[in-house]
Subunit: 357 residues, 2 copies
């Protein structure tokens, strides 16, 4: 039997909280019976929800939080004024060693600010990043950063590459995931200074990382590489553009099947296959963005998700804990430091990358 | 009968050139019989292609070019060493007043560099931008810049907003198109300095422009605004991400309809409707990216397009000429200058925008 894994939950974060948090935990527990939970939130609301499931109740501790972080709270305000919120206390539980990971479907900016403040960044990482994975033509691809850092220099991008590679290895079980940097073209001379210098560093260092150079926006859906590295501005826009385009096509498709009698019959016949198509694209399957680079596992669930989606975020959090993601990241960073000390960056690599056309 | 419109064509640019250029011109001529063409390229190859269509031959002058710009030519090299190329001569024709607009399906970077060098930027525009339009849930949306400028400051973005608004007005016949700036959130405090300051300027100036503030990646497909303004790095990634995602879904859908006998029959029944779905998403319908901000109309066609796609690029070029796009841009810039002189930017607007959270 696997070791017990304890996850702390911000039970008040998300559009459908706390109900979907409790229901999501119940679903996850069926798949992963060695889970235990610390549930932070309004005890008076959580108690009756828990009472409905004796199995979940048996492995869950409810811990009352007098505050909630709202979606409108600015990160700085949340940090100063929501010290007794369900989100903050759930994060504290990881810091205090009571839980091995934390999940919230609440305000992303507040979660990042609090997690950074409480858990601190891993040594060797300047800024944590948000990473997620998405369906592609070839399987699944990890992308980071998705919005934690709107401006990134080459060191940030290199660190994202290292963390993203470990994340893909841990999550997908790949031995040597391939890594690309998102750019406006695949030629070495394209792009801004940050991506050019980051690529130069990754090409130069003597690490087993499989760096494939630059990739473009359409490589996301193609699945050209296992890990796509970008700044938080571009990553956020790309992720939301992909989600929006997928929804648009599904919308067009729905109209298509209602446009004629023959199309309606056609839909009925293809219904089962189309359901599998929908399942494949179901955003709930890809729910669970990771805050990478912190001393502790912190997972962000989509705010609008339901119980099934939240259970998937719990699954992601569990896998990262069970596979000791953070130990791997620390090991990777150590090898990187070591490789960097053998590389003549300042005099050789970076000046070359700076020569744009 | 409408006035004659003369367009110069780079007959050697594009994967399927020169055949698709000639065939595209033939299709366009059927729709727009008042068109005439200057076709630049290898005369020995163009002559027999033209001979096949007496109608097109009658309105086309072939002009021999001894060089071609290849897809691998760097912009700077193309500029210096391809002075007798079909691309360069076709651009020169606009400068010399022989043609009212130019179209190329060749190397984008080279086209931008040459067009900028030959035609010069409009007074009041620091850097030209590449703009295109795409299908959305609500109709069509213009987006710019798509890659001409990987780094943009607030003035560039404001200029893109003005030009994009005129482009949407001209192309879609909208009286007052709405404009948004692409960002990682819709709150005023989100984003990098450039987008925050550009938004502050557009909010502050006393112009009839319908500025709606920030939009996010998924607003592209939703069609939330008529014009989306962004830097060339983000715009390029967003456009390619949207294209890639659309292709991925069509790929998944094709697999879906082949996955069972019932699905295959369903496909046959829904075929006509699905064809309309495909038509709606057909990238050839949205072929024709505009180089905005130059003293002359220059349109970039997709390199991989076919005759039908190229004919659409000719249609776009024609519409912009017929509706005097550049006169409208100049008028807009003049009103902007005037409005700016009445606005206390340095002391009031920008300092406020700089206060990020």
């Amino acid at each position: 039997m696997p070791e017990q894994v304890c996850i702390s939950l911000d039970a008040m974060g998300g559009d459908h909280a706390p109900d979907m948090v409790v229901a999501g935990a119940e679903i996850a527990l069926k798949r992963l019976p060695h889970l235990t939970f610390l549930m932070y939130g309004d005890e008076a609301r959580l108690r009756p929800l828990l009472a409905a499931s004796s199995q979940l109740e048996a492995v869950t501790q409810i811990r009352h939080a007098s505050q909630e972080v709202t979606m409108d709270d600015k990160p700085s305000v949340a940090l100063r004024q929501r010290r007794d919120s369900s989100m903050r206390l759930a994060i504290n539980a990881v810091k205090d060693g009571e839980a091995q990971g934390v999940i919230s479907a609440g305000n992303t900016g507040a979660l990042m600010a609090m997690a950074k403040f409480v858990l601190k960044t891993v040594k060797g990482i300047d800024r944590p990043a948000i990473a997620t994975y998405m369906p592609t033509q070839r399987g699944e691809t990890v992308m980071l950063d998705l919005g934690a850092n709107v401006e990134c220099d080459e060191n940030n991008l290199v660190q994202f590459a290292l963390m993203g590679e470990v994340f893909a290895r841990t999550l997908f079980g790949l031995e040597r995931p391939s890594v690309g940097i998102l750019n406006v073209g695949i030629e070495e001379l394209k792009g801004n200074e940050s991506v050019k210098k980051a690529a130069a560093i990754l090409r130069a260092i003597d690490l087993p990382i499989r760096f494939e150079g630059f990739v473009e926006g359409d490589d996301l859906a193609k699945g050209t590489v296992d890990v796509i590295v970008t700044d938080g501005f571009t990553g956020n826009v790309a992720l939301k553009t992909a989600e929006g385009t997928a929804r648009l096509l599904v919308h067009f498709l729905r109209e298509t099947f209602q446009s004629s009698f023959a199309a309606k019959i056609g839909y009925l016949l293809a219904r089962r296959s189309l359901q599998r198509f929908r399942d494949r694209m179901d955003p709930r399957r890809y729910n669970g963005a990771m805050l990478l680079g912190l001393n502790g596992i912190a997972v962000k669930s989509h705010g609008g998700t339901d119980a099934l989606g939240f259970s998937n975020a719990i699954g992601v959090c569990h896998d990262l804990i069970a596979n000791r993601l953070n130990d791997s990241i620390k090991k990777e960073l150590a090898s990187f430091e070591e490789a960097m000390s053998r590389t003549d960056l300042e005099d050789e690599i970076l000046p070359m990358a700076g020569n744009a056309d």
